[in-house]
């Protein structure tokens, strides 16, 4: 395939992925919006008003960046894992496997599809958050940079999960038992300063902590960790996950007999 053919193959996969989540919008777009609005109402307005300040910020301003990041992470991940596993289950992934589309294009196509949903939902949640809290953007490059890289990283992770998944149960295990605890313990709702030295140090092994803090820094200018570490951490994870996902596709693991 020449470069223009590769571009056509890539844009076909991305367009198909975007069309997929738009077609089933009551399943893909509405629930995350409702969930996040409930978080804003309960943790931001009702409980948040009694908490007062967190890291010198009104609690709703503190929690909003974390909630936006949470929606980006979960939607990027779940879009790729459900779409790719669905294609495996219905065997229409074979349409791509028999075609001359290179594996790295297949990988990028699914990942950009996942990022489209993650960033789309993230953008809608950001607009909604303006109703609940006032923001003055601290750093646009940091905000955009970290949200793009985070979405990329979790789309890659979703693809790897889908490749290994042998049943629909397998695509919910990681989000339920790994992703959700990591998000909840990743500084979305609190500053790690509250945890004390030991648990604060333990929290540093949670990659989501770095992403949430870098995003919070970009939006409101406060962070528990050095933002450079956050970018380095997300970049490292993304490179490793990309290499693993590509290797799995090249080998045809769980895809070719």
């Amino acid at each position: 395939m020449d470069n223009s053919q590769k571009w056509i193959a890539f844009s076909t996969i991305v367009r198909r992925e975007i069309h997929r989540f738009l077609r089933i919008w009551p399943q893909t777009l509405v629930p995350p919006i409702i969930t996040i609005v409930l978080y804003f109402v309960i943790f931001g307005k009702l409980i948040g008003s009694r908490i007062g300040e967190m890291s010198q910020l009104p609690y709703i301003q503190f929690v909003a960046p974390g909630l936006i990041m949470m929606s980006v992470i979960t939607n990027s991940y779940s879009n790729v894992v459900s779409s790719f596993y669905g294609s495996k289950f219905q065997r229409n992934i074979e349409e791509l496997l028999v075609s001359p589309t290179p594996n790295w294009i297949i990988l990028l196509g699914y990942v950009v599809g996942g990022m489209s949903r993650g960033l789309g939902v993230g953008a809608m949640v950001t607009v909604l958050s303006l109703y609940f809290a006032d923001f003055s953007l601290h750093s646009l490059p940091i905000t955009i940079g970290i949200v793009l890289m985070t979405s990329l990283m979790f789309s890659l992770a979703g693809l790897i999960n889908a490749i290994f998944a042998g049943s629909f149960d397998d695509i919910s295990i990681i989000p339920t038992f790994v992703l959700t605890p990591l998000i909840y313990l990743g500084g979305v709702f609190y500053s790690i300063d509250l945890l004390g030295d030991f648990w604060g140090s333990v929290s540093l092994i949670n990659p989501i902590l770095y992403m949430v803090n870098a995003f919070r820094f970009g939006m409101v200018g406060i962070t528990d960790i050095n933002v450079a570490y956050s970018f380095a951490m997300v970049a490292l994870f993304s490179v490793v996950l990309f290499a693993v996902a590509l290797r799995l596709l090249e080998k045809g693991s769980r895809l070719r007999s």
Binding site: A9, Q90, E95
Partner: protein
């Protein structure tokens, strides 16, 4: 893309052993000429689908080589894939997508621009009588329509080699005939076709050459005409006008009565049907119709597979 006079498909010493140790292919050799209509026959589990899977990259070979129009799948699988269109046995499209989207997306995976893809999709959907169904979810199509959709999808990048794995399984007779005509037409236009089928009548009607595969080895690879020459005897069913009290006897023809108005007889190639009819006429028995008990190729197929089985049993 390299255009050559190489065989459409050249398989050399192809082997496949699955992870559970099952050896599906034991070093097969196979050549298919450009423009051929080729049948790959064999009982269930013989290795037909494994062979097709390797050609289209869904199965990883253990050893051997496969070339499609001269392109070695180990050296440039991308180029080889451009030549191949595959219609698998099982439905493998997204049941929630519309037929038109399935075709245009498939064209996109081959790097075909959207405008060209849309024109081709219209052409093939019309040829396969699916144009009216282009905008409905494909899960609502009938079984025959789904099969035709998979043929249209396999043709969307206009491959030089079309591989069909049981394309008419479960399709009614009328539709099967129309699919045969369609396949014959695209073969006349130059597309090489490899067909696996359980309907041996289909292979006999459509194909010029045949390979019979059994237990992972090719037991016969020749033209249909040559293969049929090997047929020494055929079994015929005769329907009589009168009800028969007992089975008639005609010297040299082992007749069997299967019901009051039906006889069965095996006739060797050296014998004449006229003599049989004369013998029956003398006994005032009138034959009103006559047909083969099984398809001629089917008899040969069973003979070959049985022979292969006996050879294996006796080492």
């Amino acid at each position: 893309m390299k255009q050559t006079n190489e065989p459409a498909l050249a398989i050399c010493q192809l082997s496949k052993t699955y992870e559970d140790g099952f050896q599906a292919l034991k070093g097969i050799d196979l050549n298919v000429s450009p423009g051929d209509f080729f049948a790959l026959l064999g009982p269930n589990g013989a290795g037909k689908s494994t062979t097709i899977g390797i050609i289209c990259s869904l199965v990883r070979k253990t050893s051997g080589s496969v070339k499609v129009f001269g392109q070695d799948i180990d050296k440039d699988f991308s180029a080889a894939k451009q030549f191949v269109g595959v219609v698998p046995q099982e439905f493998n499209f997204n049941q929630f997508e519309k037929p038109i989207d399935i075709l245009i997306n498939q064209a996109g995976y081959y790097g075909i621009p959207h405008r060209v893809a849309a024109q081709r999709a219209e052409k093939y959907l019309k040829q396969l009588a699916l144009w009216d169904k282009r905008d409905i979810p494909s899960r609502t199509l009938s079984g025959g329509m789904k099969r035709r959709l998979m043929i249209a999808r396999a043709l969307i990048h206009e491959p030089k080699l079309l591989v069909l794995d049981e394309p008419t399984a479960g399709v009614d007779i009328e539709l099967r005939r129309s699919m045969w005509e369609f396949l014959q037409e695209i073969n006349r236009q130059g597309t090489t076709i490899i067909l696996t089928t359980h309907y041996l009548e289909e292979a006999e009607s459509l194909c010029r050459n045949v390979a019979i595969i059994d237990h992972g080895t090719i037991v016969q690879n020749t033209s249909i005409r040559e293969l049929l020459k090997q047929l020494n005897k055929e079994t015929f069913i005769l329907d009589t006008r009168e009800a028969l009290d007992s089975c008639p006897q005609v010297q040299g023809y082992p007749l069997r009565q299967t019901d009051s108005q039906t006889l069965e007889v095996e006739i060797e190639k050296s014998q004449s049907v006229n003599e049989l009819f004369a013998g029956l006429s003398e006994q005032r028995i009138h034959v009103v119709s006559m047909r083969n008990k099984t398809n001629r190729l089917e008899e040969l197929f069973f003979d070959l597979v049985e022979k292969n089985l006996q050879e294996k049993k006796h080492g």
